[in-house]
């Protein structure tokens, strides 16, 4: 930055011609904020150039100073955009500016909106750069909601779908419990113009997901993803043997949480799966002297025990089971 931050604006000759505009809090302000002097003065000068609509290089520098004091001020971001346009300022430099502000705090709606505005103006050529930027943010916080939102926007508006599934895999290798990465995976297989859509991708994705489930059966995300792969296709969901097999596999293990395997089996049974003896034996092996009623009811009883904090939910599920849905 080429200004001396330590000198108050009122003492800088560059600003001598500007009359700062104080904030009008009204005659009886309720809980007036105790602004620091530097903040108050900077905002007073910003108000002056904002109301005089001065779109100059010094105005641009002032918006930067103001944003460093409060990067959430959307009026300042808006005015900065007007100034950038008026000056036909280098937008690649602007991307770097945004990255510098993001270093302090990237959980800021206004910053991401500004980033989108700049990227949209620069067009598809910056798709790679936007994916790289969000990748850096996600490397610090892999569930950063703004970064994921910007990444989805980038893919939709600018492109870059080619490596996205691999990127999701990379994140899931690092943390298979990352629900954002599973969500992004679903986003890619359902919306990428380069892939064939959900049905075309189903077989490979089921295989991928089952591997993930077997490595960590207590993972809510992977089980939900598996079910989502059969969106609107109940027939395939109950007839695909790999789905009920993974449930059986997990239920036969003694070293892990059985809750998601049981709830998935419950869903299958309620959707019409005809249980085999293997299913029945598997479930009965987990029963604690519970009465041997219909299989789905027994699964609910066991769930009430293994997932006790949701006992009311499992009791409700039990109450919905009709004899026909055995």
């Amino acid at each position: 930055m080429d200004f001396d931050e330590t000198v108050p604006l009122s003492q800088r000759s560059e600003w001598a011609d500007v009359v700062p505009l104080t904030q009008d809090d009204g005659p009886n302000p309720v809980v007036p904020i105790a602004y620091k002097e530097e903040f108050r003065e900077t905002m007073d000068y910003f108000r002056a150039i904002y109301f005089s609509d001065e779109r100059s290089p010094r105005a641009l520098r002032l918006t930067e100073e103001t944003l460093r004091l409060n990067s959430g001020n959307y009026t300042v971001w808006h005015f900065r955009r007007l100034v950038l346009e008026a000056l036909n300022h280098d937008l690649f430099e602007e991307l770097e500016f945004i990255e510098r502000i993001a270093e302090d705090n990237s959980k800021n709606y206004q910053l991401w909106h500004h980033r989108r505005w700049v990227a949209e103006k620069l067009g598809p050529d910056v798709a790679g750069r936007e994916l790289e930027f969000t990748r850096r943010v996600l490397s610090l916080d892999a569930k950063h909601y703004h970064a994921w939102s910007h990444r989805q926007w980038t893919l939709r508006a600018l492109g870059g779908w080619e490596d996205e599934l691999d990127y999701c895999h990379e994140l899931l290798e690092a943390d298979v419990f990352n629900n954002s990465a599973w969500n992004q995976r679903y986003y890619v297989i359902t919306r990428s113009p380069l892939l064939g859509g959900l049905e075309a991708m189903r077989e490979s994705e089921v295989s991928y997901t089952i591997k993930a489930i077997l490595a960590n059966p207590a993972n809510e995300s992977s089980w939900r993803y598996l079910k989502a792969l059969y969106k609107d296709d109940k027939e395939s969901w109950i007839s695909d043997s790999s789905v009920s097999s993974v449930c059986l596999n997990v239920l036969s293990r003694t070293d892990c949480f059985h809750g998601f395997a049981l709830s998935t089996l419950l869903d299958l049974l309620c959707d019409g799966l005809r249980p085999t003896n293997e299913h029945k034996d598997s479930v009965r092996a987990l029963a604690n002297e519970e009465p041997d009623t219909n299989l789905a009811i027994l699964v609910c009883t066991i769930l009430g025990r293994v997932d006790p904090i949701r006992a009311n939910y499992w009791a409700w599920r039990k109450s919905k089971i009709t004899v026909a849905a055995m």
Binding site: W117, S149, Y186, I309, R310, N312
Partner: protein
């Protein structure tokens, strides 16, 4: 204030697809759908927007897990779910919600160990989700699916017993935001001595009654 609000061209902020931008500069997010619908319903001028299109947009943000995100395809998040379910509740469109599926997703937010609620799968419990998750569960009539006593204990454990206030999780620094959400959560859990709040408006019921049922 009502006079000035009515001059504000909120209808102008609605986009072709029914979504709302937060301001004239364009960011779209289901949070804004909720804010617009909530404000206009309090001002009794919901007719200023195309409610059907607004609802259609919210429904387009529904995910396979029954939850909602900020835009179509975005990850289900309890805060966004509150906004979408709240907007659908206020406009009389809760039939678009798969209440059983969403109810299960919401009650899965409760952590067995602490009794607290998180906002997304595998994230840490945070007191603010006591409002977002609980309100949503109440609006879809599934609040009995969480373990209330354990959640009450979690919120109370987040208090600073020396200086007052409530933090996001036990032994962290308190702030006004989490104090509000903790108290609101206790209200929704019918904690004795706390006034009832309306889950869709997050306002005390005596206030919403006054606004909505008087001319």
């Amino acid at each position: 204030m009502f006079f000035y609000m009515q001059i504000l061209d909120i209808a102008g902020l609605q986009n072709e697809d029914g979504s709302f931008s937060g301001d004239i500069w364009g960011k779209v997010d289901t949070r804004f759908s909720y804010i617009v619908i909530c404000c206009l319903s309090i001002l009794k001028c919901l007719d200023k927007i195309n409610v059907k299109k607004a609802v259609d947009y919210i429904v387009s943000c529904k995910n396979m897990d029954g939850g909602f995100g900020c835009t179509p395809g975005a990850e289900s998040h309890a805060g966004q779910i509150f906004c979408c379910v709240g907007a659908l509740a206020i406009t009389g469109n809760l039939h678009h919600v798969d209440k059983d599926l969403l109810g299960w997703w919401l009650c899965e937010r409760q952590d067995y160990e602490s009794g607290g609620l998180n906002g997304r799968s595998e994230k840490l419990p945070d007191v603010c989700y006591s409002l977002w998750v609980l309100s949503s569960l109440i609006m879809i009539d599934r609040v009995h699916w969480i373990e209330k006593a354990k959640l009450v204990k979690f919120i109370l454990d987040c208090q600073d017993m020396d200086n007052g206030g409530i933090s996001d999780r036990p032994n962290y620094a308190v702030d006004i935001f989490h104090t509000y959400f903790g108290v609101a959560g206790l209200s929704l859990l019918e904690y004795p001595g706390v006034k009832t709040i309306d889950p869709a408006y997050a306002l005390p019921v005596h206030v919403t009654n006054q606004i909505l049922f008087t001319k």
